[in-house]
Point group: C2
Chain length 328, copies 2
């Protein structure tokens, strides 16, 4: 039985715990729920009824670092849903590093650790025979890594382009269709809960750049960091520029791309009838491969749909453990 | 070593043989090439140099049914690329049925056998412990089945919609952007090799309907046949209707759909900024799932990109054989 712990019990952690106790994947027990302040643990696993709304007020809550769970050998798989710090990777990086070192499998939605230390983490995982999966980090509702792993075998990805940030895409969509200026569209996005109070990571293109780094390292076997991306956000994009594009059957989108070894994030003119040209909070990712040609995936970038990405990673790990058990 | 035979040595068969001898997947030998009139066989496997341009004039060509190869136990995997007959399923159906019965794995791009006898073939495969894969039958350059198998685990597909036929989509695209009448757009498509001399299967919606049947049976566990699809093609679509749609920010597309247990193919109004609204010969497939929400895939529908689908099916079979060998 795989003993699974969730570290980070916010929106995503709560939803994942509900999903796991709802459909109960065979061979998996949800035995720990943790946040940065402590954790609760159940040897027999949580079920739908015993899931707490709030961790810290739960009677079993133990004030301690979640590292304790890892060091005590109480888990076989951790799902790391910690808040992202794209410059230090922490706190997620510390948990992931320690887990992998001990051969514990990791599924994560936290971009920070992968942006800061992708190669190191992959190599640690390899040495210890553990898996590190991160489908949820890029285009939550788009199974980009799983698709590359399974469906593009015997093919080779040449380049990648994408609209990777829902907040900026919502803003640019409102500027295009309603003629709003940037600051009004931003205010609207904030009121709808689509943009954070400090929207600088989104608007400045940093969030997109992180995703480009992860795509480059994971899909094109590169060794890139945030510093390697040429980043220009959308703060300079004017309503006039968007309207001028519209006149020509185009619009302005914040596009992340990997082309010829170089990584970019910048506002770009995109034809309105181009497959990549999606609107609202949608994300789109386009591969160009050697054999298949161009493939575009369009889906939700964040929120509830991200749970689907986490579940498919978890299922993959259950399968892999099952296979290695019957192996030689 | 998996001994692989290709049945059907036209455009797709030739390209696949080239791809297989080019990158030589580990654990696979290409030992037979067949068409309806006979075959050539090589115990040690063909390499790039020994691939014939034309089968029938090859000195090793044996005039016989390809069934002989199957009955003689000379193959572990057949790739069936026979011309499609959507009413009888033959000749592909006979080869596939016989192979599966004997535990030989099958990869196919031929829609006919699956439209006529999907449930029977799947159950034969199951009893014999063989695999039947058919990624290439729907949206050649879109890994729809592989994606569902791997990336939507723990999720459930509720409904499917798609633009599944490149010929009609090319025609409708030309009608929309150039204002061409249907017959002129069709003539243009024929001159460019995008439509057959008898385009009735495409224009009448039958090709799309076959793909809808395969999607319904494979992704939603239904048991449907061609008769179960409400089919209306594009032959009645006028230039005026397309122009009227355009005025409203929409266009007319031939959409196949599975919704609430019912299967449809019909011309539909689609908003120009809808993810499904792709142009030219592109195909698009949209799932609605329980957890992930809506996911749209856009890619080439046919031609060279289909080779990618065949290769990924073949790789899956190589993996599966490798796993079952180390099993208990």
């Amino acid at each position: 039985m795989i003993r699974c712990g969730i570290i980070g019990y916010g929106f995503l952690g709560t939803r994942l715990a509900q999903a796991l106790t709802d459909y109960r994947p065979r061979g998996l027990l949800l035995t720990a729920l943790a946040n940065s302040k402590g954790y609760i643990f159940s040897r027999d696993g949580f079920d739908k009824q015993s899931l707490p709304r709030d961790l810290s007020t739960h009677r079993g809550f133990k004030q301690d670092t979640p590292l304790q769970l890892i060091e005590d050998g109480l888990l076989d798989l951790i799902v790391v849903l910690t808040p992202t710090n794209v410059y230090t990777g922490n706190p997620g990086l510390t948990y992931i590093r320690e887990a992998l070192r001990r051969g514990i499998d990791v599924v994560t939605a936290d971009k920070g650790p992968l942006v800061v230390a992708y190669r190191e983490l992959i190599s640690t995982a390899k040495s210890a025979g553990a898996s590190l999966l991160y489908e949820a980090t890029v285009g939550g509702g788009i199974p980009v890594f799983s698709l590359a792993r399974h469906s593009l075998r015997g093919d080779r990805i040449r380049s990648v382009r994408g609209i990777l940030n829902g907040t900026t895409n919502y803003i640019l969509t409102r500027m295009h269709f309603e003629g709003l200026p940037l600051d009004l569209a931003l205010k609207e996005a904030q009121m709808m809960g689509l943009a954070e109070r400090d929207p600088s990571l989104d608007l400045g293109g940093i969030d997109s750049a992180c995703k480009v780094v992860i795509l480059a390292n994971a899909l094109l076997s590169m060794d890139k960091r945030l510093d390697d991306v040429y980043v220009k956000g959308i703060t300079q994009v004017t309503s006039d520029a968007v309207m001028a594009a519209k006149e020509m059957g185009m619009t302005i989108k914040l596009v992340g791309s990997i082309e010829g070894g170089h990584l970019y994030v910048a506002p770009r003119l995109v034809r309105l009838n181009h497959p990549l040209c999606v609107h609202g909070t949608l994300n789109a990712i386009q591969f160009r491969t050697e054999v298949m040609g161009e493939l575009t995936l369009i889906g939700k970038g964040a929120g509830e749909s991200t749970v689907s990405a986490l579940l498919s990673d978890i299922e993959w790990i259950i399968d892999r453990r099952a296979v290695s058990r019957v192996g030689p």
